[in-house]
């Protein structure tokens, strides 16, 4: 049992009930509880209250649910909060809500149509474009989490993505955040073995691979003993 487990389960259940979960891929650190239920992962580091979902082709007209995700989340006691700087939208617990603690964000791959936060009418939400989401989209699997079929990235690709993305961190806390990303990936690297994660990264070329290589060097320096085992 980990913190906010009930709330996380309730969000997934509600999204499944309205038929929205089939459009969403769970990413970010909240995939770890899903992996934990399906794979013999022994150790779970858990350090975030943000649930991230990614959506493939958000402009596709089939992306809809009844009621919309917005309506359902509002009913559950969350409300959309837009960042004045980036215009990205995040569902945070309603001010009067006593039990809700998690926040939910929707992401997508940027493209020709989507360069800025994009509103999906059928789902009633705004998705924020973020690079290299396609790595997760192209390598998704469906796993059961407490009886709910949830689409998540394959563990090796999730870890490779996490290591690569750590190198895109910027700002005052960049170094610490990089280490946090690598810590998250470490759970999967230790479980699968580093060869699988490196193999996953080799499926991609160019900038993503070079980001991964850069991140992997730091990972090797940080956890050398674990890689020798």
């Amino acid at each position: 049992m980990f913190e906010f487990e009930k709330e996380f389960h309730s969000i997934l259940k509600n999204l499944q009930e309205i038929g929205a979960l089939r459009h969403l891929i769970l990413i970010g650190s909240w995939v770890l509880p899903v992996y934990l239920e399906n794979y013999p992962i022994s150790h779970l580091t858990f350090t975030t209250s943000d649930i991230d979902f990614t959506i493939i082709r958000p402009h596709d007209p089939v992306k809809k649910s009844n009621p919309s995700i917005h309506k359902q989340l509002t009913k559950m006691g969350y409300f959309p909060h837009r960042s004045p700087l980036t215009q990205s939208e995040k569902y945070i617990p309603a001010l009067e809500s006593k039990k809700n603690k998690l926040s939910i964000e929707f992401l997508c791959e940027p493209g020709r149509i989507i360069k800025n936060p994009y509103r999906i009418k059928g789902l009633g939400i705004t998705v924020t474009p973020l690079r290299y989401q396609h790595v997760l989209h192209e390598n998704a699997i469906t796993l059961a989490y407490k009886g709910i079929n949830t689409t998540v990235p394959k563990p090796a690709f999730w870890a490779a993505h996490k290591i690569a993305m750590s190198q895109l961190r910027s700002g005052e806390q960049a170094e610490l955040k990089k280490m946090k990303d690598l810590d998250g990936a470490r759970i999967i690297v230790n479980f699968l073995g580093y060869e699988d994660v490196i193999d996953a990264s080799q499926h991609y070329k160019g900038k993503f691979l070079s980001l991964f290589k850069k991140g992997w060097k730091i990972y090797q320096n940080r956890f050398p003993e674990e890689l020798i085992k």
């Binding site: 001010l95 610490l176 280490m179 810590d183």
Partner: protein, 114 residues
């Protein structure tokens, strides 16, 4: 959990709580507590709502019909109740920020000593 992850987590949590605190304070400022009173003028009953804004007491006409009054009072009571809950949550949030900052201080001290 490594110290770095813990520090990032605590900083993110403090930021989230502070953002929430700002939203709560804005809400309480934008939606002041409302009370309702009635006045009998020339034999007719008029209902007014009263609230504080920018340090001033403001009275505004609400309605003159009793049915309308019952409808409005329900809305006002619900809004006042929501305001009360948020006010309570605000204090809880302030305490949480204080506790998180203390934890962060300890984590940062440990990180420096590593």
């Amino acid at each position: 959990m490594s110290i770095e992850s813990n520090i990032v987590y605590l900083k993110e949590e403090i930021k989230n709580h502070q953002e929430r605190l700002q939203l709560m304070e804005k809400y309480l400022k934008d939606y002041p507590a409302i009370s309702v009173y009635k006045r009998k003028i020339s034999g007719n009953i008029y209902y007014y709502k009263k609230f504080w804004k920018n340090g001033k007491s403001i009275s505004k006409f609400l309605c003159r019909n009793e049915n309308e009054y019952h409808r409005e009072i329900k809305k006002i009571e619900a809004a006042n109740k929501k305001r009360q809950i948020i006010k309570k949550q605000l204090q809880g949030n302030k305490n949480a920020i204080k506790a998180l900052k203390k934890q962060l201080q300890i984590a940062e001290k440990a990180f420096k000593n590593v």
